[in-house]
C-alpha cells in the first residue's frame, strides 16, 4: 500500500513569547518543528505501513529549510520525502497549498491513503486536508481517532465528534486527518536518524508539477487578510454567592432581566 503523509513546519510554540508592545509572536530565536498534529499523522502512516506493507511518502511545501522537518519524518519511519519548494509557491493560502499538494500527489500517481494532521498549530484552519481531497476528488474523513481496519480497497475509521464518535467505512483512496487521540508518536531510532541524514530528498518545483500558474502562490490565493488583532478579553461576569436555592433564583431573575427587550 502506498501511503502519503503531508506535513507542515511551524514555529515551536511550546515556549512561545509574546511581544508586549505589538501582541505578536516573537519569532526570533524560535525553533521550527513539525506541526504537532502532523506527528500523529506520521506515526499513523508508519503504523499502517507496518501492518499492510508498502511505503510511506512524506510531502511538505515550504522554504528550503523544511528539509529538516522531512528528515525528521524519515527518521520516524517514512521511506521517501518530497519537498515542494519554489518562489512561485510563496504566499499560498490554504486553497493554493492544498491545490499544490494535490498536484504533487497526482504526480506520485499510485497512492491509497493520504494522512494529514487535523490542523496546523500556527494557522489553525484545518482546511488543507479537506482541500486536498476536494482537489483530488476523493473522499475525506476528518478528526480520525482510530483506524479499525484498512486494506487496499477500503477502511473503517472512527471520527471524533463533540458527543462521541462516528464509525465510517470509506473506499480508498481517501484523505484522513487525524487527532492526537489516535496514537502516541514514537521516539526516532538512532539508526533511523543516521539513515535520514544521508537520505536523498526529492525537490519538486512548480514546473515539475502539472500546475496551472493561476492557482499557485499568492496569485492563486483567494484569501484576503484584512486585519489581525487580539480579541479584547471578556469582561468578568457576575458571581452570585449564598445558599444554592437562593442563588439559583437570583440567577434566573437576572437572566430574565437580561432577556427583557430594552427600549
Amino acid at each position: 500500500m502506498n501511503i502519503v503523509v503531508c506535513i507542515k513546519q511551524v514555529p515551536d510554540t511550546t515556549n512561545v513569547r509574546i511581544d508586549p508592545n505589538t501582541n505578536t509572536l516573537i519569532r526570533e530565536g524560535v525553533e521550527s518543528v513539525i506541526n504537532p498534529f502532523d506527528m500523529y499523522a506520521i506515526e499513523e502512516a508508519v503504523r499502517t505501513k507496518e501492518k499492510t506493507g508498502g511505503k510511506v511518502i512524506v510531502i511538505s511545501m515550504g522554504p528550503p529549510q523544511v528539509e529538516t522537518a522531512l528528515r525528521e519524518a524519515l527518521s520516524l519511519g517514512c521511506d521517501e520525502a518530497i519537498l515542494l519548494s519554489d518562489r512561485a509557491f510563496a504566499g499560498s493560502d490554504t486553497w493554493a497549498t492544498s491545490y499544490t499538494l494535490a498536484m504533487a500527489i497526482k504526480k506520485i500517481k499510485d497512492f491509497n491513503v493520504i494522512f494529514c494532521g487535523k490542523q496546523a498549530s500556527d494557522g489553525d484552519t484545518a482546511q488543507v486536508g479537506p482541500g486536498i481531497s476536494a482537489h483530488l476528488d476523493i473522499p475525506q474523513v476528518t478528526y480520525v481517532k482510530k483506524i479499525e481496519k484498512i486494506d487496499e480497497k477500503s477502511a473503517i475509521v472512527y471520527r471524533m465528534t463533540e458527543e462521541g464518535y462516528d464509525v465510517i467505512e470509506t473506499p480508498l483512496p481517501v484523505v484522513l486527518t487525524v487527532v492526537k487521540e489516535i496514537n502516541t508518536p514514537r521516539i526516532p531510532s538512532l539508526k533511523g536518524k543516521m539513515t535520514a541524514k544521508k537520505a536523498q530528498i526529492l525537490a519538486w518545483k512548480a514546473q515539475d508539477l502539472n500546475v496551472n500558474d493561476k492557482f499557485i502562490g499568492l496569485n492563486g490565493s483567494p484569501t484576503q487578510v484584512v486585519k489581525i488583532f487580539t480579541p479584547s478579553p471578556r469582561s468578568g461576569g457576575e458571581i452570585f454567592q449564598g445558599e444554592t436555592d437562593e442563588v439559583v433564583v437570583k440567577l434566573i431573575d437576572r437572566i430574565k432581566d437580561e432577556l427583557k427587550p430594552k427600549f
Binding site: 514514537r186 521516539i187 526516532p188 531510532s189 538512532l190 539508526k191 533511523g192 536518524k193 543516521m194 541524514k197
Partner: protein, 384 residues
C-alpha cells in the same frame, strides 16, 4: 562548553535527551516511590537503538565506544539516576564479553544486548568481598564439559531482570587472585536463582538482588578468556565502566542544578527572587563550575579509553572519584537552595541527593579509587 562531539555523538545525546525529558522525567518519581522496574523505558531505549551505541556494528551496534555510552548515560541521569543505571549496568555486564569474549560468545550475546532484547549484569561483589574483591568465595569447579558454580553474589544491579550475567568465580583456590575466572551465565539455567530485591536509599528504580548459585551447571564454552583471567577481566571492565559512573554522577548533578536554577528564579523572599541574592548566585556558580570540570574529566577519560590508550586505570579512577564527590556536593547544595521545600518529597531534588550517594560507593568505593590513583602515581614515578 563545546566538547566537539561528532555528528553521531550529537545525535545520540539529543536522542537520549529527548527520551529523558519526554519519557523518563514524567515517571521518575513513580519508579523511585514504588521501586517498580522501568521496563517501559527500557523498551523505548531499546527501540531507539541506544543499547547498541558502545557495540561494534558487526554485532548489531552503532560502532561507537565509551564516549557514546557516557553521553547517553549522562542524559538519562539528568532525569533519573536510577533508570540510567539500569541502562549503564547492561554495558557493565557486556564489557567482559566485548573485551575478552570469543568470537562465538560475541556473536551469541552482543546482538541481543545491542538491540535491547536482553539486559546484562555483572556479578563480582559478595557479602564478604566488597572492596576486597580477592576474598570472593563463589567457586566454579570444572567437570567434563561443564563448570559447576556454587556461591552467592550480592547487590547485583539488574539482578533478576537481566538475561545475561557475567560472573567472577574462583576456579583455583591455591592461586589467590590469579585463581579467579569470569563466566557467562544465562537466566533460567538450573541452579541459578535470585534473592530478594533490596530496599535502597536511592537509585530505587533499579533492581538490586543476590545471584544464588546452587550446583549451577554451565557449558565450558561460557568461560570468558582463560581460567585465572577473572580479575584481569574485572579490573579492565571497571576501567571501561568507571567513566560511565562518572557520567551518571555528572548527569545527576546537572539535573539537580537545573532544578535549583529554575527554583531560584521562581522563589521570592524579601520581595525578590532568591536568584538575585549573591549568596545563592555564588552557590549556583560554584555548582556549575564543578559540574563542568567533572564533565570535562569524564569526557577526556572516555576518549582516552576509546583511543585505545593502555594505561587508563588512573584517569578512569580519577574521573569516577571526582565526578561522584562533586555529585554529592552539588546535589546537597541543590537541596539547600530549595530550603525546606528541598527536604520534601513533593519536590524533586531530595531524590537527586539520595541517588548521588551510591556513585561514591559502587564500582569501587572512592577510597579504593584513591588507592588505585596513588598506586599508579607511585608506579609511574618509578618508571621515570
Amino acid at each position: 562548553m563545546d566538547y566537539l562531539l561528532t555528528e553521531q555523538q550529537i545525535m545520540i545525546r539529543d536522542l537520549a535527551r529527548q527520551i529523558a525529558q519526554e519519557k523518563i522525567a514524567p515517571v521518575a518519581a513513580h519508579h523511585d516511590e514504588t521501586g517498580e522496574f522501568p521496563w517501559g523505558i527500557m523498551k523505548i531505549i531499546a527501540e531507539s537503538d541506544l543499547f547498541g551505541v558502545f557495540i561494534e556494528e558487526k554485532y548489531g551496534g552503532t560502532g561507537g565506544g565509551v564516549m557514546d555510552l557516557v553521553l547517553a548515560t549522562e542524559e538519562f541521569s539528568k532525569a533519573c539516576g536510577g533508570i540510567a543505571v539500569c541502562y549503564a549496568a547492561t554495558a557493565l555486564g557486556a564489557f567482559p564479553i566485548i573485551l575478552y569474549g570469543s568470537e562465538e560468545q560475541k556473536k551469541k550475546y552482543l546482538p541481543d544486548i545491542a538491540k535491547g532484547k536482553k539486559l546484562a549484569a555483572f556479578g563480582l561483589t559478595e557479602a564478604g568481598a566488597g572492596s576486597d574483591a580477592g576474598a570472593i568465595a563463589t567457586t566454579a569447579k570444572k567437570s567434563g564439559d561443564h563448570y559447576i558454580l556454587n556461591g552467592t553474589k550480592q547487590w547485583i544491579t539488574n539482578g533478576g531482570e537481566a538475561e545475561v550475567y557475567t560472573v567472577v568465580a574462583i576456579t583455583d583456590k591455591t592461586k589467590g587472585s590469579r585463581g579467579a575466572s569470569a563466566f557467562i551465565v544465562e537466566k533460567g539455567t538450573p541452579g541459578f536463582e535470585f534473592g530478594k530485591k533490596e530496599n535502597k536509599m536511592g537509585i530505587r528504580a533499579s533492581a538490586t538482588r543476590e545471584l544464588v548459585f546452587n550446583d549451577c551447571k554451565i557449558p565450558k564454552e561460557n568461560l570468558i578468556a582463560k581460567e585465572g583471567y577473572g580479575f584481569i577481566v574485572a579490573m579492565k571492565t571497571f576501567d571501561q565502566s568507571r567513566p560511565g559512573i562518572g557520567a551518571q554522577a555528572v548527569g545527576i548533578a546537572q539535573g539537580a542544578l537545573d532544578h535549583a536554577i529554575k527554583y531560584a528564579k521562581e522563589r521570592v523572599q524579601f520581595e525578590k527572587p532568591i536568584s538575585s541574592f549573591q549568596g545563592v548566585q555564588f552557590m549556583l556558580a560554584d555548582m556549575s563550575t564543578q559540574v563542568e570540570a567533572a564533565r570535562a574529566l569524564v569526557y577526556a577519560t572516555a576518549r582516552m579509553v576509546d583511543a585505545g590508550i593502555k594505561d587508563i586505570s588512573r584517569a578512569s579512577a580519577q574521573a569516577k572519584l571526582f565526578a561522584s564527590d562533586m555529585c554529592m556536593k552539588v546535589t546537597t547544595d541543590a537541596v539547600q537552595i530549595f530550603g525546606g521545600y528541598g527536604y520534601m518529597k513533593e519536590y524533586p531534588v531530595e531524590k537527586y541527593m539520595r541517588d548521588a550517594k551510591i556513585t561514591q560507593i559502587y564500582e569501587g568505593t572512592n577510597q579504593i579509587q584513591r588507592g588505585v590513583i596513588a598506586s599508579n602515581l607511585i608506579k609511574e614515578s618509578l618508571k621515570k
